[in-house]
Symmetry: C2
Subunit: 136 residues, 2 copies
Amino acid sequence: MLKVKRIDHIAILVEDLDEALSFWSDTLGVELTFVEDLPEEHAKVAFLPVGESEVELIKPTTEDSGLAKYLAKHGPSLHHICLEVEDIEGMLEGLKEQSVQLINKTPLTGSRGERYAFIHPKGAHGVLVELYELPE
Amino acid sequence: MLKVKRIDHIAILVEDLDEALSFWSDTLGVELTFVEDLPEEHAKVAFLPVGESEVELIKPTTEDSGLAKYLAKHGPSLHHICLEVEDIEGMLEGLKEQSVQLINKTPLTGSRGERYAFIHPKGAHGVLVELYELPE
């Protein structure tokens, strides 16, 4: 049985990381854990845990990445939702069987050992959905 | 001290509630708890718990509500993030002191006794943020 365990994070695209951090951290009182430069994703990201989930603030660091283009088109906004799943391979197989449009047909591996894949917004009723399977 | 406890829900605006429910429930395996008609908000909503949070699918039921106009302009998409806070009055006072633009300056009360207020996207770096204080 496929299983979604929790919301791992909600990603928000921002124009000014310091200002957005000031709002989330100083104004709302959500603690910042760390800021990470992700040159391969042309972005700088900040993580702020909220309960069992995190708010991820993403600031594009180049002008021509997909993220930068999304930001230029939509302005700062909610960007994607990431769900932790028990079995990402099984989940992707199930999605493929149902012809759900995927951005990643097989999982990639992130810097913290998490395996992840994105479902295309066309396959998820307009929402960019990321799936995560965390290392044991 | 202001405290954000958890993400209560992530709201997604949908064009077709049955199709979106089929994706979230049948395809991803997230269980539906209930569907509610909210005529005063011109919407029909479905709640699907994911860990300690919920995914809320919102389908506008009239043509000229704010939600319907947002859907017409942006298409189906992530709409807002709702944070459970310990003290909504204190949080709103703090936001007012910092001149953060609010949609609701004092809390409203929802159908389940929750007190809620929205921060305007202009006050929250492009994101519509709802605050919730749940009854004890």
